[in-house]
Amino acid sequence: MSDKLFEITTAPISVDEVSRRVSSPAVGAVVSFAGIVRGTNAGRQVRYLEYEAYPEMAESTLAQVADEIKARWPVEKVAIVHRVGRQDIGDTSVVIAVASAQRQGAFEAGRYAIDRIKEIVPLWKKEYFEGGEAWIEGPEKPPKTEAKR
């Protein structure tokens, strides 16, 4: 078991375990989000998904998402764990836990986190469905350039 706040892992993940990573005596509210592998997509019967990450960049980009959250809402801690590798229908692919002294802002922060993950964190899923397989590509444009030279 890990206590990392931002983690890419091949191991199964749970809301309870990730929520514990952000709990402390200063915390009066933890809002959690779990992304679950769905059995249908675009009218297809999904058999399973295969997730891939650029692990080092994904973890640092998750930390960036948490920094963006802390600049907008008064939250104490954010933890985000994303699982990679093969995942079956009903498996938990991502867990977000947002801890704050009080509940204000925590719900919005959790929603912001999953939206940003889908926009900028280097993760991809390949769908294996009845009769084929296909990479799912996000509709987003690339994030603005950060590398300065």
């Binding site: 650029y54 926009e119 964190v121 280097p122 899923k125 590398a147």
Partner: protein
């Protein structure tokens, strides 16, 4: 100068490999590196023009100048969650 390129998801499959060493003259940009990769790996051609770029794990662009030791990554639009 030299460095590495990492490929992910559909680009990794198109290239048939996940990592490539690069060696280019000083002053080269990501654009020059991508053109070079497309020559040596023709199967990358249709993919690489739409790729997202990272240099040393930060988002970059085709105009970004490379430096010795840089870790460049090319990948399709992200689809996590």
């Amino acid at each position: 100068m030299r460095g590495t390129v990492k490929l992910f998801a559909s680009l990794r499959e198109a290239a048939g490999r996940s990592e490539i060493e690069w060696e280019l003259a000083d002053g080269a940009t990501v654009e020059i590196l991508v053109a070079h990769l497309q020559e040596t790996l023709p199967r990358l051609e249709e993919w690489a023009n739409h790729a997202w770029i990272a240099v040393n794990r930060q988002y970059a662009s085709f105009e970004t100048a490379l430096q010795d030791g840089d870790e460049v990554a090319l990948f399709p639009p992200v689809s996590g969650g």
